[in-house]
């Protein structure tokens, strides 16, 4: 099947937009020049078979628990990252997670209470506390 060049360009550009939704929509990313490369970072309702289930930016308090899932590539040696959970700008929890070569996924979770409604963010930082990514979401009724 022959595809015209202009149509091909359009498809490629669409693929770029939809394949990288995090950067275009809600997330801020800082790609390190060296070290592990963050390839995925999402908030989700749960982790099923080491994959995020029901990715979202708004979570009901009724879920009781939510998770932050991150996946790294180009991990050349064992290292650590951090998930820092903030509620309305106040640090609630900072969790250290270990990464192993060559590719590694890790997640952290937060138990939700009634007082936890409101805007949240999770800062993903490397072992030197350099900010790699910010995930923003809300916990509602």
């Amino acid at each position: 099947m022959k595809i015209p060049f202009r149509k091909l360009c359009f498809i490629v550009s669409l693929a770029v937009v939809f394949d990288a939704p995090d950067a275009a929509w809600s997330q801020e990313v800082s790609v390190p020049s060296s070290g592990p490369a963050l390839v995925k970072a999402v908030m989700c309702e749960s982790i099923q078979k080491l994959t995020p289930d029901n990715q979202a930016v708004v979570f009901s308090i009724d879920l009781g628990r939510i998770s932050c899932f991150t996946e790294f590539d180009q991990v050349v040696k064992q290292t650590v990252i951090h998930h820092k959970w903030y509620h309305r700008g106040n640090l609630i929890s900072a969790k250290q997670l270990t990464l192993n070569p060559p590719r590694w996924s890790s997640f952290s979770s937060m138990q939700l209470r009634d007082a936890d409604k409101g805007p949240w963010q999770v800062d993903v930082t490397d072992e030197s506390d350099k900010l790699l990514y910010i995930l923003r979401f809300s916990v509602t009724d």
Binding site: P21, W25, G89, G118, Q121, I134, R136, T140
Partner: protein, 484 residues
């Protein structure tokens, strides 16, 4: 005695200047108006005022009110009745004489010139009427005169009473060494006891002598006789020595040294009375019974750095407890009391600034007893700006079976201005609450931004709303594996 000593010990140099200045002003008023009816009425009013204060202190309410009414009426009467006398005093004085020197009244009347002139007039049989006022004014009884203000001389008097001159018919009024008025019309006496040969000139002289303490000399045009009228007494003058003696008695002329001494004593006594009076009034105002008053005064902050912003204070006003005499405390106006805090040494952040005595401006005579609070917490910050991300603040409950999968905000950053310390702790600007209940499909919504604390400002006020685009997905049914 002890309170008096304490009061004197507490006097400031400003208080002494205050007393001396006002004493001098009172003394100068006495010097200007002495010998006139005005000063006698003023002394009478002062006596009435003292009586009024005594009546008030004794609880005589109606008497006190009556006195107040009389004083007010008397003050008005002085101005109306003695307006000519007041105007005469003020107009006759040079500007310098208001502040310094003794007025011309003290210049002695040259009696010799008058005696010589009178006998020259008598010899020439020129009718004359000469008035020498004493202490009571004659302005209220003498009318129609022509102001003259000429230096007294024999030639001048002869010229005035020479036949045919326009002013020869009336009286000439002599004050000091000046002829102040000519052609003055005197009140005619209605007495029936006057000798038959007395004409109108004599009757006018007697009329004035009845009503005032002035001495009036009459030179008869027909017989060339000299007659003096004073205090309802007619004195037939035999010769110039006799006239000289009568005039000297009228003027109370003693040897020059005695006159100067008497004047010095009079003025010295007046000065002492003025000083004592003003000191008494000053102490009654400034050192009366101590009265307390409490004022709530707003705090003024001064000398803060050019880039410093006053963010918050623990109090915007302070309570001052002031004391002083009742009269002074009652007269204190709120704008006379100020609390000015100097922020020259304040730094960004929280400052504890004591309210020192020199930070408080009070009117004279008022003392500070207490300040509440004594220390103010003042938050200052340097103005700065920061670019911050915007995050939507969702609220409510999304419909079951839906997931709000992603969100995008345009613009996603905003520039905020505020204190650097406040901005340091702020990482995110949140939107207003966005309700979830009505959201079922993808869409967008325009919402405002919430700036907390309230002193934060947007760099561009028109950017206080953002567009929030959202994506909705349907929740997948639970898988069998998960259930396991």
């Amino acid at each position: 005695m002890e309170p008096l000593i304490q009061s004197l010990a507490g006097l400031r140099w400003q208080d002494i200047v205050d007393i001396l200045l006002n004493s001098y002003i009172l003394f100068r008023l006495y010097v200007l108006f002495r010998g006139t009816n005005v000063i006698r009425m003023a002394i009478a009013i002062a006596m009435l005022w003292i009586l009024e204060r005594m009546a008030m202190s004794m609880g005589l309410i109606v008497t006190s009110w009556a006195m107040q009414g009389i004083i007010a009426a008397a003050a008005l009467i002085i101005i109306i009745v003695f307006r000519n006398e007041i105007a005469g005093v003020l107009q006759a004085r040079s500007f310098k004489s208001f502040f310094w020197g003794i007025p011309q009244r003290q210049i002695r009347t040259p009696i010799e010139i008058i005696v010589e002139s009178v006998y020259e007039l008598a010899r020439l049989k020129l009718g004359a009427l000469i008035v020498l006022p004493l202490k009571k004014g004659i302005e209220t009884v003498v009318h129609g005169g022509v102001s003259w203000q000429g230096k007294l001389s024999r030639e001048m008097l002869l010229s005035i009473f020479w036949h045919g001159t326009p002013v020869h018919d009336g009286a000439a009024v002599i004050q000091g060494d000046q002829i102040v008025e000519v052609a003055a019309i005197l009140p005619l006496s209605k007495s029936n006891d006057l000798p038959a040969h007395f004409g109108t000139r004599h009757r006018a002289a007697f009329g004035l002598a009845e009503k005032t303490d002035a001495l009036v000399i009459v030179v008869s045009e027909e017989r060339g006789e000299v007659t003096v009228f004073k205090d309802r007494v007619i004195i037939i003058i035999k010769d110039s020595i006799d006239l000289d003696r009568v005039l000297r008695e009228h003027a109370g002329t003693e040897p020059a040294a005695n006159g100067t001494r008497q004047q010095t004593m009079e003025l010295g006594l007046a000065a002492i009375i003025c000083l004592v009076g003003i000191t008494g009034i000053w102490f009654s105002f400034a050192r009366g019974f101590e009265t307390f008053v409490t004022l709530e005064v707003p705090v003024e902050f001064m000398n803060r750095g050019p880039k410093m912003e006053l963010l918050a204070t623990s109090a915007s006003s302070v309570t001052l407890q002031l004391s002083g005499s009742g009269a002074l405390v009652r007269s204190v106006r709120p704008d006379q009391v100020k609390v000015k805090l100097d922020l020259a040494n304040a730094v960004a952040g929280s400052n504890q600034i004591a309210i020192a005595r020199d930070s408080i401006v009070l009117p004279p005579g008022i003392a500070l007893k207490q300040v509440e609070p004594q220390v103010l917490a003042v938050n200052l910050d340097v103005m700065d700006q920061k670019k911050l991300p915007i995050q939507p603040d969702w609220a409510g409950k999304l419909l079951a079976g839906l997931i709000l999968q992603d969100v995008r905000i345009i613009p996603d950053m905003v520039k905020v201005m505020g204190g650097s310390l406040a901005l340091k702790d702020i990482q995110t600007i949140y939107t207003e609450k966005i309700p979830l209940e009505n959201i079922t499909t993808d869409g967008k919504i325009s919402v405002g931004l919430v700036l907390l604390p309230s002193y934060l400002k947007l760099d561009d006020e028109s950017q206080n709303h953002v567009e929030v685009f959202y994506k909705i997905a349907r929740r997948p049914p639970p898988s069998g594996d998960n259930n396991k």
